[in-house]
Subunit: 350 residues, 2 copies
Amino acid sequence: MTGDHELKLQCPLPVKNATVQLAHGGGGRLMQHLIRDIFIRSFSNPLLAQMHDGATWPVSEGTLAFTTDSYVVKPLFFPGGDIGSLAVHGTVNDLAMCGATPLWLSAGFILEEGLAIETLQRIVDSMAQAARDAGVSIVTGDTKVVDKGKGDGVFINTAGIGVVAPSVIVGPQRVAQGDAILVSGDLGSHGVAVLSVRESLSFAGDIASDSAPLHRVVADLITDGIEIHCLRDLTRGGLASALNEIASAAGVKLSIDERAIPIRDEVQGACEVLGLDPLYVANEGRFVAFVPEAQVDHAVAVMRGHEVAKEAARVGVVNGRESSIVVMKTVLGTHRILDLLSGEQLPRIC
Amino acid sequence: MTGDHELKLQCPLPVKNATVQLAHGGGGRLMQHLIRDIFIRSFSNPLLAQMHDGATWPVSEGTLAFTTDSYVVKPLFFPGGDIGSLAVHGTVNDLAMCGATPLWLSAGFILEEGLAIETLQRIVDSMAQAARDAGVSIVTGDTKVVDKGKGDGVFINTAGIGVVAPSVIVGPQRVAQGDAILVSGDLGSHGVAVLSVRESLSFAGDIASDSAPLHRVVADLITDGIEIHCLRDLTRGGLASALNEIASAAGVKLSIDERAIPIRDEVQGACEVLGLDPLYVANEGRFVAFVPEAQVDHAVAVMRGHEVAKEAARVGVVNGRESSIVVMKTVLGTHRILDLLSGEQLPRIC
């Protein structure tokens, strides 16, 4: 929408004490106001300003990566983040796990009638800030409103497009016998942070979510010549589920060492109180990388150069093709099979 | 996920009488089953089969179009379609309105705990069929589950990527004085069809949704040398809202003739009963095109060559730059300003 004509429309969207109404999703004047005063203003960029049914832009020959995630985290705000920053980080990270540089995001909002406009503005501001920090643009979007009691405040979907550098191929099919398994940092903070607010618990050390963009760590690994075979961010289901998915897709046995897995004492303690296994708890700023054993020291050093990965560590190895299985050597020296969870530990954590 | 290893997992997802549980969104075994047995099986294609955090594929130099929409239509099934086919058509059409050939879609599902798996399967089947019919692939996806009472069965977000043919530029900025305004067919059926089910009304003639993919009509217009200046699909807010958005973005006065606007008698009658103005009712298989007056006959002939646009008609003209306004000459010969609606006619129609 070109700015000049928009100025002719009347008074701005009232924010103070205002709430989302069904008409904000109806295609009429209220929706125009919401789009102009909240979304366009906060996400400001030339592609979004095209205000057409979609954004268009020229690309060079290359490899695209495309991903999507919906975010339904409850509560909307938690220590270390909110649904807005999460919706940017999660999709940026999914692109990073494809070895791609994240560039363009879409944003689809499903708002519940009665949501405070101020709450929406806070979320959108956080999303815009997270996008700026990550160097991505929110170029197209959509808003729907559902009746009160048929949603839960805000759900956000982001889809993302990135560009994969030439010759980078990352995926379970490249996982090889002897590969080392690295994790990028300490585990479990996101899930515990969200749960602590939801259950009104307070833990020593004020555990904050690890939610953060990871693409710069991956980019540096690639630039530094690390031959990355596979990447996976450790979201729903945590490290144990990610390793199971990779073991299954690659058809390999993975062996990890519990003593090598970085988990903060406060998180370990909180998990014990809550009856959670931190290996299955969601993270939003942690990933696992499969690299050749010979490059482990180099890769860990590159990762530790980033604040978000300063506790990166080698936690295991690919050591067999006889079965798709994840085995952990425990602190007691015994062996435990880490399987996929059958039930649900922590609903609506992302 | 490579098929061989998956076969080692146990029994398939039970469908009969089964319902969605929170654990279906938890990242564990139940989610794996849902993804494998419902989504991968139905949407089957090589990019989705990569089963990574995103899909990657090579592209040539060119112009990309990117769009997103969430679908919250109520009820989930209606005459002429359902939320699944709608989620494909809506996003395919947004790409078509950018002058793009739609190619790749993402699908993000927000499921309410307790949803029947059979219902989900029906929706996914319909989505897969609509994607095949439109020649697009669903290449990446996501599933979240929210607690019972915090959603409404199923919400679907689709984002889409298409490729714009060289030299095609479509957008409000190209709308020119003297351009003719064409609509691709009769208006109002989608909104009336959805509302008739929601309100348990039955109308003479069994009005079915017009939901359909429109990209082939647009492609033929481009191939036939029609110089398309602007396109917009007539979804939420209908023809009147779309014309207002274009008038505002382009800074022009649009004049349309009520007698020229195709509306079926049954739809007109239903709208009168329901107190709706069909010019503001949502369509999901109709668009407006701005083309040079000299090409009107040619363009209408091309459009009418498609079943979905067989009632295409010229309905008006761009005739001034003095104000961003839409004026309609009524059947009585008087003039009426068509403004954006301030309230909401029909919530959750798409």
